[in-house]
Symmetry: C2
Subunit: 201 residues, 2 copies
């Protein structure tokens, strides 16, 4: 009885089409642009159809949050696991900043936007957020083992580094930094290098 399976596939394909349209509309402009009616228009179905595949708009954006986080984690995991522990940690920090500035809207979804999520979704966010954080923790732990960091507490050091990275990136993305755009990358590099200099033993 392959009908069930085919229907399941069709259902998943429809969910994907909805999510793709939602992401497109969001990336093209903003969250307001990704309205249920605009999504429906783009996939050429009625707005009501979307509610057969997602409970509400929030669930759609929760999926987009997951997609964004997945891409970020995948980019991190693509980095080589060989070489000096310090270089690996540094490369992770550099990727964090570069990826965020290249995908500011995805970063917004991940870390800045308000999400009044339900309990299960909140737990899931902690899990996926924890997964990304643990990649950093691992690299920081390796550095501490090698005696490359001033701070010996792995959790504290990881948290401090994450704060630094998020601080830089989020202020730039939200256009709260007073530096002209052409000097941006130079400033970001200077900030990162000086942070690294401070924590290096």
């Amino acid at each position: 009885m392959g009908i069930q399976e085919r229907k399941e596939r069709e259902r998943e394909s429809m969910k994907s089409r909805i999510l793709d349209a939602a992401m497109e509309l969001y990336l093209e402009k903003d969250l307001e642009n990704a309205s249920i009616r605009n999504i429906a228009d783009r996939i050429e179905f009625s707005p009501a159809t979307i509610y057969l595949y997602f409970r509400d708009k929030e669930e759609i954006f929760f999926e987009l949050y997951n997609i964004a986080f997945g891409e970020f984690i995948s980019a991190l995991n693509k980095q080589p696991r060989t070489g000096d522990t310090w270089d690996r940690m540094y490369a992770g920090c550099k990727l964090y900043i570069d990826w965020a500035l290249e995908h500011p809207k995805l970063y917004d979804l991940m870390f800045i936007l308000e999400m009044p999520m339900n309990v299960i979704q909140q737990q899931h966010c902690k899990d996926i957020g924890g997964e990304a954080f643990s990649i950093l923790v691992e690299r920081v732990a390796a550095c501490i083992e090698q005696g490359q960091l001033k701070i010996k507490d792995v959790q504290l050091a990881s948290m401090m580094i994450w704060n630094m990275l998020h601080g830089i990136v989020s202020l730039i993305i939200k256009r709260r930094v007073l530096v002209p755009e052409e000097q941006e990358s130079v400033m970001v590099q200077a900030l990162l290098d000086n942070y690294m200099l401070l924590i290096k033993r």
Copy 2:
């Protein structure tokens, strides 16, 4: 001819009432709660009346942004200007974090929320943001003069410290930190103290 003056006072008083209602509704719940119709309901006027005092909703929230920033700057300026330069700088950082965590919604207005503002407003935001930043810059400069900081570049050091502070605060406010709430203040203090330890010469 006191009629003009009285009318001007009445106009300002009406603007205040609108802003007060908007701030109340925002602080009570969220931005969505501060709709033009809800504001109008609260001050017992029709929605259209609000448009006689503000161009659009954006202008109202631009004023709320200014009020929030004003309160923050005033809190900073209330701190004593005497004593050791390092202590003053530290106190400023501590106040930044404490104030932000005590007024998370005002901090949101100031640094996190999206504001598609017009050119004049954008310039004004840079000015008022620059005013707050210059308070930090002053204190950092004094520390550098006293040879209390590892970093000698005033702008760079100020930016690094601001990033740290904003990183901590914004991740906590946006509930992206995995630490339970009762350990929050302990963690924040540990983060701050360790950052200070790193930059101290």
